[in-house]
């Protein structure tokens, strides 16, 4: 501390800090969401903490870059390549990269701060807790969308690269290939939104969120074995319904009618909204104890 704090304090009076005179030009809640997003992205994704998620995403792209050229059956064969790509997408990208990536990103938004004992700084700011929830969710969603889009597009890039020219360019730019890529990207975004909402609320409710995350993982994996009614209580069922290239779920799968695309998308969005509303109720009652 300076040697003469009193003199300094008198010499440098606190400015007129009352919010209102110094406000950002944005409506307050939008400015607050933007500020929360900047802080969250800086804390969680631009530091050491982000290394795991980058390893997961770029590891997937690297896997695609290494594995696809080893498959001679897809060279010049778009049909086979699409099947390999669809299996890779559903089996690895959706069920592993996006699932665990979302678990890591969204559970950390609140639970990570409770572990670090730093959540109270947010709760001591003049921000509605619902706005805090929105800011954190959107920041997680934004990061997941960017990273998992890289994983999805990167994987498909190496898939079609392995197919070789001119079959790949013909398919992508003069056939349905590009639309198919965009469909996968759209599913990835929906998956991030859906899993993100679930893992955010898991992080709010459970002191050790790993166990519920494993239970959700198990439920999503055995989805193909479930009767049609139970299938619908999952995220993967709706995502599976949207995939442009259907993937066989094996001889033991209980087949259910795929949900129409409009219903799958609407349903996922509605589920996200409901889960986030529950999270808002939870955070409204949250007490800081850190024990």
């Amino acid at each position: 501390m300076s040697s003469d704090a009193e003199t300094k304090a008198e010499g440098m009076p606190m400015p007129n800090a009352r919010p209102g005179s110094h406000r950002s030009s944005l409506p307050i809640w939008r400015a607050q969401i933007a500020a929360i997003m900047r802080l969250e992205i800086r804390k969680n994704f631009l530091g050491k903490r982000g290394v795991l998620i980058y390893l997961l995403v770029f590891g997937q792209v690297l896997l695609a870059a290494v594995a696809f050229p080893q498959l001679p059956t897809i060279r010049g064969n778009i049909g086979e390549a699409n099947m390999v790509g669809a299996n890779m997408y559903e089996g690895v990208i959706l069920r592993t990269v996006v699932f665990f990536g979302c678990a890591w990103i969204f559970m950390n938004l609140f639970r990570g701060e409770m572990v670090d004992k730093s959540l109270h700084y947010y709760l001591l700011a003049p921000v509605r807790r619902e706005v805090l929830l929105a800011g954190k969710y959107i920041s997680g969603l934004l990061v997941s969308i960017v990273l998992f889009t890289i994983a999805t597009v990167g994987t498909l890039f190496f898939l079609y690269l392995a197919v070789g020219s001119p079959a790949n360019t013909q398919y992508l730019f003069h056939g349905p290939g590009l639309i198919q890529v965009l469909s996968y990207v759209e599913i990835t975004w929906l998956a991030a939104a859906g899993y993100g909402a679930f893992f955010l609320i898991v992080g709010l409710f459970f002191r050790n969120p790993i166990i519920p995350a494993i239970l959700i993982y198990g439920w999503e994996w055995i989805n193909f074995l479930l009767p049609p009614v139970l299938k619908k209580i999952s995220i993967i069922h709706y995502l599976h319904s949207l995939t442009p290239v259907p993937v066989s779920e094996g001889p033991f799968a209980l087949v259910a009618e795929p949900t129409p695309a409009w219903l799958a998308i609407t349903g996922l969005i509605v589920v996200c909204v409901v889960v986030l509303l529950l999270a808002a109720v939870r955070i409204g009652r949250l007490e800081i104890k850190y024990t």
């Binding site: 800090a17 804390k43 530091g47 001591l124 003049p126």
Partner: protein, 317 residues
Amino acid sequence: MDSPSDQTIVLEDVSKFYDEILGVNRINLSISPGITSLVGPNGSGKTTLMNLMTGLIQPTRGRISILGVTPGNPEELFRYVGYCTQFDSFPRGLTGLEFIRSFLAIHGFSRRDAGELAMKALDRVGLVEAANLKVAAYSKGMRQRVRLAQAISHQPSVMILDEPLNGLDPLARAETIRLFRQLAAEGLHLILSSHILHELDLMSDQVVLLNNGYVVAEGNIHGVRSEIEEHPMQILVRCDSPSTLAARVFEQDSVVEAKIHKDKLGLFVKTRDPDAFYLLLNKIVVEDKLDIKLVAPADDDLNAVYQYLIGSKEEGS
């Protein structure tokens, strides 16, 4: 934003239970501007009371109003209130400046103004030179000061400070106390807790003594002391002939004990009626021609009040 018209902090019949465990019970307080110290042993409810005032926890029963705003209305409350908690933890990866600026941005300040206010707050606690260092690299005292800077950065009307002098070296403590006094002189409410009773004694306008979740006493330290009837007030009289004085003080029934100071130049007198004793002392001085050097209460401080009411020795000093 104008200051709120209501200038008091009011707690009405506030209780907090953690399941079966009592946090605080039936707290009724009305706190005016100035420095108010919450004093009590560990587990007495000081932090619980501060967390209740700021909405970090909700009361099981009762009503809290901070300048007319309830803790359930954070977007209004924290325009007026800054809380420096005991948690020695920070968001990861930020420098001191980024830490304060980020939360000012959440208040709604523009980036430029948030940066300016953050620097001014850091200047006020003497951390400008460390502004661009990561908080993780700060010493304990620096972390304490950066949390204080964060709590004052938006110029609140009410500051709640949980053990704000912890980890500070003696010079920093003295300057922080001076800062608190200055803020109180500017009309702020400062509510703080500390184990260092001597320092609280020096700066507090009023004290709230807590024990086992209950308010044991509240008010001006001297007022609280004078109400403790079971412990007679101890007065030190320094004079040229303490033995003469000792022989005469028992003329008054309210005097219960007289003890000569070990340097033989003073007398400790315990009396249940200090005002009557002062009148008697005037009479003795005139009649016996004593040369009085000093008359001062010897146990009219927070430490004595604490020991009489709570029965524990002062910690940390």
